[in-house]
């Protein structure tokens, strides 16, 4: 490459340019956050509460389903602190007390209790609790995701009582986490759910399985020494949801359950049971319960030691609810307030104000874009306020959970709302103060979408789209007049363009035109350099489109929770063209009315998120489709159907039938033409023990049959640990690699090559096998084995062009550490030699020459990405998602198997090789994400900009982080600090100089002639 004539001249031009341009090698502090953006997420809250302690103000503490603990500033929505746990360490409980918060998490079979300073997020202590009886089978009645885990603070004794797995109770010292006592229950038929503490005693409330129902069991502990006593209550409970436990701490605790036609109440520590008849309740006490037609539900309001609770009853017109209270003196049920209003989806939450007055909120979505909140004080029966908040049902789905907080006088309220898509919203009075798109913490896949060019004037578009035959019918003069008219029309935009140009020239900022303040001006179009694209994310039940500029602002989002249980794939089936909008197809699963799993497909306009309905082919081109199949694999085929020019999507179901979408006649025709040369694999997932190749059978009927072409069984004990495929959007600039003596090594560019890493864990340390497999014929083109590999560290493999990079942990005694290995595949080991053929066929029996080199790598990684540029000329850079939450870019020049292990010869220098070094340097300048903690990266995807030098990079997982990376520096743009002003001043100065001196010189010349 380097020796080519053109690049040489190119290099010369670059060289001359460098005289004027100062290249920037790394980021300056003031450039941070200018081109990149970082969205921090925490996941959907499992536990969330307002935490107030002394003068520090209120903040929300959240434990999420992505195993994150976080404190969120209620005013701004910013994360004050965040602790990200390991992916396989589930947080089960989280509770705040004064200036600490206690978390309980489970990792493998151990429970870990940690204490955090609640305003800083520093960990105070940690206690790992082992040997807890874990009996997963005996928990049939539990439906919540924290099986039998409860945490309470025993205020008077400086102790924390923790119930684990419904069977073990421990008492830890609140100051240092040391264990004061522990009690393990041996009877496996009882599972405990709740702990209550009062009057120096702790009570565990559980359910014991009897014949058809459950009996309530209470265990009483002496809080100082843990001596316990088990008691059984005379009771029958059908389900855990029919029982709640209230009170404790400063007052007595009560168990309330629903048994037969009664609500029964037991004061903990006694065997006395008070009961209230439901019949009476329905008919006399609460008027809105009169038409009850279903089972009532007891709702715990999580009010700590308070004894108020909610009873919800379904009626014909919707659910209604009433507030009850257990009177701590008498131990009887008291009805407080009838909430009356009937609606299907009301959510309740409660808190109390400064005067210990109970405040209840009722929230629901009342229209497509409005949610309503009622604030009620049940004690006095006052409705304190009705509020309407803008809320998009289409984007977020229904409300799932609310957490209420009121100020001291309860004149207003604030509320943390979790919606069905997993997002968090913060409401205050009539406004949504902030929201966080937490659904993106559950991103399944993400894709870059190119935006269409700025819409040319429609007349011109029509002109461009005109067929040649059509143009011929119009006389040349008419065509000419039409063109001139178009140009005159376009001239109207010229002043605006000129001002924009001058502005851009002065600011030197090409994105200025895209940074919009006025929404009406905003339209989705590509910018000059192609830096602007859409990022389409598919999360569990939602599609979200983000802008790559404007700090990743959301362009559209759409919630599919009512139609889809879980999405698995998204494809861009049509990219932007002049006339047609870009299209995406999202594919997910859903249970139909009979409980059978169906596959659902949605085809959307990628610029708006709306269903795409073509104007002409509507009938056989449905934008929503439900297929009664369970898919094994979904593929985007490299063939387009002729009507709408969308890529055909193939779905292979469990019965090995091959369906295509869309499946109208022309699409089938296009597919049948393509099918004979099409091969695909199944069972190519992590953990599989074999790989199978298939081909579509020619039976011309839908669904198509497929036939197994080959099967590759990995040796005993091996299973797939990682798969590396070549990115579909890669561009290759050169077919060979140019060496120092100007000869060529031809790259082996097999589009069917898949790199598979298998781990054999039958003995430890494990063995890592790397297979390069041609998936058309199923042959292994190369095989390598690494002994002594640590299987606990993830194995990652990436492929681009003719190179493959993989990363693992080596347990070898002399090289313990992370190892990165790079392969390069060539057609021959001998220079200038290749497989002479104008075509590439997998059946040609050509085996590549593999050159490889290994390096010690400074970090563990979670993902590998590769930069992709427009033409593939710029040096590639491998992007590693480090386990230190950073993105680390290593140039291909460092991961190059041709790095010589000797003193550099002239030819090596000519090839610009770097001498081999066994370690990839831990160069902090290579960290692209500078100081940002980009947590939980699972994937790094890249997309080329219109500039050859630049790649758009997105890292996603928990956080989102986007940047533009120029692996060979931005050689094709003037740097920002290029002083245009000086240049202009010089030019104008020179012109001025000429103007002044010209008459002077002329006069002098004339005078000279006279004498």
């Amino acid at each position: 490459m380097r020796r080519l004539l053109a690049p040489r001249i190119f290099a010369f031009v670059i060289l001359t340019l460098t005289l004027f341009v100062e290249l920037v090698s790394s980021l300056y502090a003031n450039q941070a956050g200018v081109i990149d953006w970082h969205h921090q997420y925490i996941g959907t809250p499992k536990v969330s509460f307002f935490h107030k302690f002394v003068s520090r103000g209120a903040y929300v503490l959240i434990a999420s389903d992505r195993n994150v603990l976080a404190s969120i500033n209620v005013r701004s929505g910013n994360i004050d602190w965040r602790q990200v746990f390991d992916e396989n360490e589930n947080i089960l409980a989280f509770k705040g007390y004064e200036n600490t918060a206690i978390s309980v998490s489970q990792r493998d079979n151990d429970y870990i209790v940690r204490s955090w300073e609640s305003h800083s997020g520093f960990m105070l202590w940690e206690n790992r609790i082992k040997n807890v009886r874990i009996d997963k089978n005996s928990n049939p009645i539990i439906e919540n995701d924290a099986p039998g885990v409860d945490v309470i603070f025993a205020a008077n004794n400086l102790g924390i009582l923790i119930l684990l797995e419904g069977s073990t109770v421990i008492n830890l010292n609140v100051t240092d986490g040391s264990q004061m006592w522990r009690s393990d229950l041996t009877d496996s038929s009882t599972i405990f759910y709740k702990l209550v503490e009062f009057k120096e005693k702790a009570y565990g409330v559980g359910l014991k399985k009897s014949f058809s129902s459950y009996t309530i069991e209470v265990i009483t502990y002496d809080i100082t020494n843990g001596i316990s006593k088990l008691q059984s209550l005379n009771s029958k409970v059908g389900n855990i949801k029919d029982m709640i436990v209230l009170g404790g701490s400063i007052q007595d605790g009560f168990i309330i359950w629903n048994e037969g036609g009664f609500i029964r109440v037991n004061r903990l520590g006694t065997l006395v049971i008070e009961q209230s008849s439901l019949e009476e309740l329905y008919e006399n006490v609460i008027p809105s319960f009169a038409n009850a037609n279903g089972k009532l539900a007891l709702l715990d309001l999580n009010l700590g030691s308070r004894t108020e609770f909610l009873v919800e009853v379904p009626t014909k017109e919707g659910n209604t609810a009433a507030v009850f209270k257990v009177d701590s003196e008498s131990g009887r049920l008291v009805a407080l307030y009838d909430l009356e209003e009937k609606s299907e989806n009301s959510l309740y939450s409660a808190t109390f104000d400064k005067n210990s007055r109970l405040i209840i909120s009722r929230s629901r979505v009342v229209a497509e874009d409005v949610a309503k909140v009622d604030i009620i004080a049940p004690g006095t029966g006052l409705v304190l306020g009705n509020y309407e908040i803008p809320y998009s049902l289409n984007s977020y789905g229904d409300l799932k959970k609310t957490v209420l907080d009121v100020d001291s006088k309860a004149t207003g309220y604030r509320m943390l709302v979790t919606s069905a898509d997993g997002s968090i919203h913060f409401w205050k009075d009539h406004d949504m103060v902030w929201k966080s798109e937490e659904s993106l913490a559950h991103t399944i896949e993400a894709e870059f979408l190119d935006l269409p060019e700025r819409k040319l004037w429609t007349q011109e578009v029509d002109e461009l789209a005109e067929q040649p035959e059509e143009s011929e019918t119009i006389s040349p003069l008419a065509r000419y007049i039409r063109r001139v008219k178009t140009h005159i029309e376009q001239l109207k935009d010229f002043p605006a363009y000129l001002t924009a140009y001058v502005q851009r020239f002065i600011i030197g900022d090409h994105e200025a035109e895209l940074r919009f303040t006025d929404k009406s001006k905003f339209s989705l179009h590509r910018d000059t350099f192609g830096f602007r694209k859409l990022l389409i994310f598919v999360t569990r039940t939602k599609l979200v489109a983000l802008d790559t500029i404007n700090k990743g602002q959301i362009i559209w989002s759409r919630y599919f929770g009512n139609d889809v249980f879980e999405f698995n794939k998204i494809f861009i089936v049509r990219s932007s063209t002049v006339k047609y909008p870009p299209l995406v197809v999202a594919i997910g699963i859903q249970r139909d009315s009979k409980g059978k799993i169906v596959t659902r497909l949605f085809r959307l306009n990628a610029l708006t998120g709306e269903n795409f309905i073509p104007t002409e082919n509507e009938k056989y081109f449905p934008s929503e489709l439900s297929l009664p199949i369970i898919t094994k694999r979904i593929l985007k085929l490299p063939v387009e159907e002729p009507d709408e020019r969308t890529h055909i999507i193939a779905l292979i179901d469990e019965e090995l039938k091959f369906h295509i979408y869309p499946n109208h006649e022309n699409a089938v025709k296009a597919f049948i033409q393509f099918a004979p040369s099409f091969y695909f694999t199944l069972s190519d997932d992590i953990g599989e023990k074999s790989l199978k190749g298939y081909k579509v059978v020619k039976n011309n009927v839908q669904p198509f049959d497929i036939t197994e072409v080959w099967i590759l069984n990995f040796p005993e004990g091996e299973s797939i640990a990682a798969i590396g495929r070549r990115p579909q959007n890669e561009k290759i600039a050169s077919l060979g690699r140019v060496l120092g003596d100007r000869s060529v090594l031809y790259k082996y560019l097999n589009p069917h090559l898949v790199a598979i890493a298998t781990l054999s864990t039958s003995k430890t340390p494990a063995t890592l096998n790397i297979y390069l497999i041609d998936i058309v014929k199923g042959s292994i083109l190369h095989h390598a084995t690494h002994e002594n590999v640590g299987y606990l560290h993830p194995i990652r493999i990436a492929q681009i062009e003719n190179s493959i990079v993989y990363h693992f942990w080596s347990e070898n005694y002399n090289e313990k550490g992370y190892v990165a290995v790079v392969y390069e595949l060539y057609e021959s080991e001998i220079k200038d030699q290749r497989f002479e053929s104008p075509v590439f066929s997998s059946f040609a029996h050509e085996r590549p020459y593999v050159s490889a080199q290994a390096y010690m790598f400074p970090y563990g990684i979670n993902a590998i990405g590769v930069t992709i540029t427009k033409h593939g000329i710029a040096t590639r850079e491998f992007l590693f998602a480090l386990d230190t939450d950073q993105v680390f870019g290593v140039s291909k020049r460092f991961l190059d198997p041709r790095r010589p292990q000797r003193v550099l010869t002239n030819e090596d220098k000519e090839e610009m090789l770097i001498p081999y070094d066994p370690a990839i340097p831990d160069n902090k300048k290579w960290v692209l994400s500078y100081h940002l903690p980009v947590a939980g990266i699972r994937q790094i995807i890249t997309s080329p900009a219109l500039l050859e030098s630049t790649t758009l990079v997105l890292a996603y997982g928990l956080d989102l982080w986007f940047t533009r990376e120029a692996p060979s520096k931005t050689f094709d743009v003037l740097s920002e600090d290029f002083s245009k002003g000086t240049l202009l001043a010089t030019i104008f100065g020179l012109i001025l100089g000429i103007l002044i001196t010209k008459p002077m010189v002329r006069r002098k010349k004339v005078n000279a002639r006279w004498y």
Partner: protein, 184 residues
């Protein structure tokens, strides 16, 4: 009255009209001024119809032609004298692709081309009906030497790697292989 410093051109003796040039004796109307060496014989001698004088004129013309050819050869060989200097400059400028080496190499191409374009003007003054045939050889040598200078430039280009002589130079024009099978 005779004076040493006076010559009466009206009554010159034969002796006085004798004029010797290059070993030849000419009788002229008037002797040339003292110290004058005539390269072109006086016309009067031929007008006298002296056969001997006519014979004398031809060697003089031949002389002129030889002189012209000689001069032409000098001109033809002059580019050759620059070659060592150019070679030295090339050697000094090194094999890197830099502004000076490229400029010098460029000069090595432009100068010969310019010179070849102007070859007629270089040899114009040596041209006469007689010498036209003979000038072919110096011209050919001149062209050859200019080509040699260009070859020097070419050599420089090749040593700088600017000549598309290696396989790598044609790599970019190679079509990628057409893939027959598709796979996902």
């Amino acid at each position: 009255m005779s004076n040493k410093w006076r010559i009466d051109f009206t009554n010159l003796s034969d002796q006085a009209r004798r004029y010797e040039s290059r070993g030849q004796i000419y009788i002229v109307d008037a002797p040339p001024p003292p110290g004058y060496a005539a390269s072109v014989p006086a016309i009067t001698s031929s007008s006298k119809g002296n056969l001997k004088n006519k014979k004398d004129v031809q060697p003089i013309e031949k002389d002129q032609e030889t002189l012209k050819i000689k001069k032409a050869w000098d001109a033809a060989l002059s580019p050759g004298k620059n070659i060592p200097m150019n070679a030295f400059m090339l050697w000094m400028s090194g094999n890197g692709v830099q502004i000076f080496s490229v400029m010098i190499t460029g000069m090595l191409f432009f100068q010969p081309i310019k010179a070849l374009m102007g070859i007629d003007s270089v040899f114009e003054r040596y041209e006469s009906p007689k010498t036209r045939q003979l000038l072919i050889w110096p011209k050919l040598v001149y062209v050859a030497l200019q080509l040699l200078t260009m070859a020097l430039g070419l050599y420089k280009c090749s040593s700088m790697g600017l000549l598309p002589t290696a396989t790598s130079d044609w790599l970019a024009f190679m079509e990628p292989k057409q893939v027959i099978e598709y796979s996902i």
